[in-house]
Symmetry: C2
Subunit: 183 residues, 2 copies
């Protein structure tokens, strides 16, 4: 089962795909869609839709997981972020994909063990869990974390982990990583 995580943004949108097979989680690819800040918002959103669609066609995920951002910066920032998020959701929906939402706090809690983990901690956990040679770019790391945070829900990856329901998501994921000799 291929899970694609997406961290939407009006300037850059991170994406990261993992394959889940039994207790194995394997990194597929990750990247960031950078939008041209000099262009009009409408043009940027169309660009985001087209480039994300290309990724979806290329990666052919079974499930897409999009971060459900908690916005601290006020209504204006939330509106702007919402515009990119809406385009991401609609683009995935048009490809017939099922989209799940995962709150940021859950992503951090499950991947880094703390709901308030900072971006670097999340990126480091993602690198360790997936055995990546180096830290992914910030937004791509977030997107991979989003994908990983949903693995327990969408796949069978955690089925063999001890008491997956009771274990903290991070422990279960670390268990997985250890089983794969990556952490």
């Amino acid at each position: 089962m291929r899970v694609l995580g997406i961290d939407p943004g009006s300037h850059k949108t991170g994406w990261g795909a993992v394959d889940v097979e039994g207790s194995q989680v394997r990194h597929v690819d990750n990247g960031v869609i950078f939008l041209d800040d000099d262009r009009d918002l409408t043009v940027r959103l169309v660009d985001l839709a087209h480039r994300l669609r290309d990724r979806l066609v290329e990666l052919s995920p079974d499930v897409v997981v999009v971060e459900d951002v908690f916005v601290r910066k006020g209504a204006r920032s939330a509106l702007i972020l919402g515009q990119a998020r809406g385009v991401v959701l609609a683009t995935c929906g048009m490809q017939g994909l099922t989209v799940k939402s995962v709150p940021t706090s859950q992503v951090k809690l499950r991947v880094a063990g703390r709901g308030r983990a900072d971006k670097l901690q999340v990126a480091e956990m993602v690198r360790a869990l997936l055995g990546l040679p180096e830290l992914p770019f910030e937004d791509a790391a977030d997107a991979l974390a989003v994908a990983l945070s949903a693995v327990g829900d969408v796949g069978t990856a955690m089925a063999r982990a001890p008491s997956p329901r009771r274990a903290k998501g991070r422990d279960a994921l670390l268990e997985l990583a250890r089983a794969q000799g990556k952490a």
Copy 2:
């Protein structure tokens, strides 16, 4: 020149089209795209994109004007509204249309003469200005107001009105309506 105004929302999106020719403004059509609240957000946004695209193809506007909402209800509401707005912008952009943003306060000021006019006042002004037999549905009236508020910018409608730059938008529009024997 055909101007399409849009009032985006995550539950219903109003639209209204007017034709502008010299000092004449003529109502073309208006309506509301209702989304099924029981469906998943992604499904609703795809539905919005498809149904709006159908309207765009049918109406073939020269310019689209989208309300740039000022959100008072906090970040969560702004994020939700932003999602619908982003889909509206991208859908218009994909049809190669130019999209203009007009702040809600400007819409109210230009159409109803007050930045804090309520929805009913706006709807009544829209009805009077366009000589409609009855009040349009709330969100459609808002969308028509959005279209009308941009007329001075996108068209030549106000070119013949006395001192259009100095006159309040509402006065200039009323002038127009009177010239057309509608108010």
